[in-house]
């Protein structure tokens, strides 16, 4: 299957800094791919290169099999939703959404229809004659989305569209965006630094750091099997225990973590580890059991509760284990089942939840 969007070794240099470093990826039609990473990792620059606002220093961009490097933004069939919405202040909502269609010289009738359709999709029918400044942030964002959808682009590009919107609304809107994208089957590249957002909406996600893609895959793949310390830390949270490989076979790896203690982890099917190799064992805080006496798991350590942080639906424990702290997240079933500071507890987890990550 030939890719709908393909980036081949795309790089961008600004002065002396290499902002995008040999990024390659392929997208199929109808997919929603998220570029996820901290600020400055090159995700927005990559997006802008796809749109045509930046020229790549090297590498190629193919849309539907056609090389588009030399095409100016207005000749590519991409549509971008900007973080700051970029709505034209001197035009009504109708004219804003219609703009792309006017540029494509559509007939008046057609424009009217398609603008109406786009506004329906974002539930803003009736706002046609208003001006952007009369709308709230969330509404403006929807207009920006409608404007991009109206032209029925080959590729929809979203640059942190929800960053300027408050929490509660953000969670609702990300689901709306996903629903619309799925309904229309539009190939979409989404850029965000919010890993929660990325996990919710993506079909696939590509984690970027310092200009490179460090891991790509489905949300569950990336979450469950981080392949580097960076990814383990950036997506969700992870307890990382340093250790040395003692024994390893096809089903299990035994890691010594000092003081004679030993934990077990699943081997990485792609990469085998050797004895004496330094590794990190990564366990997600919510995958850890905590109890007073232990429940019989092979991976178990004894520690003391140093802090109890109550977040309403969850409680977070900081458990001191000698030199390090382990973070454990648990749901709050009732307040009296919570452990107290100073309690001696046993933390345990199953092998399946312990991932080996290369120590860097």
């Amino acid at each position: 299957m030939s890719a709908y969007l393909e980036l081949v070794a795309l790089s961008k240099r600004f002065g002396s800094s290499l902002v995008v470093d040999s990024v390659s990826l392929q997208m199929g039609k109808g997919e929603l791919l998220t570029l996820l990473g901290p600020s400055g990792c090159g995700k927005t620059t990559t997006l802008r290169m796809i749109a045509g606002f930046e020229m790549p220093t090297s590498g190629d961009i193919y849309i539907k099999g056609e090389r588009v490097n030399d095409k100016p933004p207005y000749r590519r069939n991409t549509a971008m939703v900007f973080q700051s919405y970029a709505l034209f202040p001197h035009m009504t909502i109708f004219k804003n959404v219609a703009f792309g269609l006017e540029m494509r010289k559509e007939s008046r009738q057609n424009i009217g229809q398609r603008v109406g359709h786009a506004l329906d999709l974002v539930q803003l029918r009736g706002f046609e004659d208003r001006y952007p400044r009369q709308l709230s942030g969330g509404q403006q964002q929807r207009v920006a989305l409608a404007r991009a959808l109206a032209v029925e682009p080959d590729i929809l590009l979203l640059d942190e569209p929800l960053s300027n919107i408050d929490q509660k609304l953000r969670q609702q809107m990300r689901l709306e965006i996903k629903a619309i994208q799925r309904r229309l089957g539009i190939t979409t590249v989404y850029v965000t630094h919010d890993q929660g957002e990325a996990l919710v909406i993506s079909d696939r996600l590509a984690v970027m750091n310092k200009g490179r893609i460090v891991q790509a895959g489905s949300p569950s793949e990336v979450y469950e099997s981080p392949r580097s310390r960076f990814v383990a830390d950036f997506i969700g949270e992870a307890n990382l225990i340093t250790g040395t490989v003692l024994k390893s076979n096809k089903t299990r790896v035994e890691v010594g973590i000092g003081d004679g203690q030993v934990v077990f982890a699943l081997p990485d099917p792609e990469k085998s580890v050797r004895e004496k190799e330094r590794v990190l064992v990564s366990i997600r805080p919510e995958r850890i059991q905590i109890s007073k006496t232990g429940l019989g798991e092979r991976n178990s350590l004894v520690g003391t509760v140093e802090e109890v942080i109550y977040i309403g639906s969850n409680v977070r424990y900081h458990i001191g284990l000698g030199k390090s702290i382990m973070v454990v997240d648990k749901q709050v079933i009732s307040l009296d089942t919570l452990h107290q500071v100073g309690d001696k507890v046993v933390v345990e987890w199953s092998e399946a939840n312990a991932i080996l990550v290369p120590a860097e």
Binding site: P72, P73, Y74, T78, P89, H90, R147
Partner: protein
């Protein structure tokens, strides 16, 4: 500021005084319209001067703004830091160069033995008298006004969010269309304000028409000075001044109001 206001008030008052030969400034308390009548009632000569002033300044302003816009645009939007720096430094440098220097430069170029004539003679053409023509003054005015216009236009252009231009291009607008539909309309109020400011400055110019007009073409500032230095007719000069300022203000407000009406819509 009080001397300034006081002076202006006095000027207006004086313009209604009778001219008394011999005295420079009299504090008499007469009231007469004869100054205005002499200049604007009996003959049409002074209408001619006023019209020349408005006309020459008007042409110069339009051309200056047209030439200044690309400069201002590049200063703000150019991708090359070097280009921005060179253009901005040149603009500000020329802004500070003394007007006398600027006028003299054009005398050197357009003079009877000047650069242009030297080249003409070299190519076998006749020497031509360039100074003392409308064109010479207009060129001098343009030279003087472009740096001012450029600096004035920087504000309005900067206020247009570049993301809006990118958004338009993303939706299929060519650079030309983006400019016509997005950049220009959004910077228009600022352009108009700048144009009016530059016009007010142009209409007031003194040295430029004094030397590039060679005594053949006058603008109002020269007329005021000449009349006064020749006849010491203070009330007369006062009347001319009032007319000059009055027409300038009138035109500025008038054009401004018309333009603002047309732009009613997104402000």
């Amino acid at each position: 500021m009080f001397p300034f206001l006081g002076a202006l008030v006095m000027l207006i008052v004086e313009s209604f005084q009778t001219y008394i030969h011999g005295g420079i400034i009299q504090v008499s308390y007469s009231f007469t319209l004869e100054n205005y009548v002499t200049y604007f009632g009996k003959t049409f000569v002074y209408y001619g001067f006023l019209w020349d002033t408005i006309r020459l300044a008007g042409i110069a302003v339009v051309i200056s703004v047209l030439m200044a816009y690309p400069m201002a645009y590049k200063i703000i939007r150019s991708k090359s830091k070097m280009v921005k720096k060179i253009l901005l430094t040149t603009t500000i440098a020329l802004f500070f160069v003394s007007t006398t220097t600027k006028v003299y430069s054009w005398v050197v170029i357009l003079g009877d033995a000047g650069v242009v004539n030297s080249i003409m003679m070299f190519l076998g053409f006749h020497q031509t008298r360039y100074l003392g023509s409308d064109a010479a003054i207009i060129i001098g005015l343009i030279y003087f006004l472009i740096p001012i216009a450029t600096l004035a236009l920087i504000g309005p252009i900067k206020n247009v969010d570049p993301l809006l231009e990118q958004g338009a291009m993303n939706l299929g607008a060519t650079m030309t269309k983006t400019f016509l539909r997005i950049t220009l309309p959004l910077s228009m109020p600022g352009i108009i304000a700048s144009t009016l400011l530059v016009y007010a400055i142009g209409v007031s110019s003194f040295i430029i028409p004094a030397f590039l007009g060679r005594g053949l073409v006058f603008m109002m500032a020269n007329v005021i000075y000449k009349r006064f230095s020749e006849t010491f007719n203070y009330p007369g000069g006062a009347a001319l001044s009032v007319v000059l300022v009055g027409t300038t203000l009138f035109m500025a407000y008038g054009i401004g109001a018309i333009m603002m009406k047309k732009m009613r819509g997104f402000r």
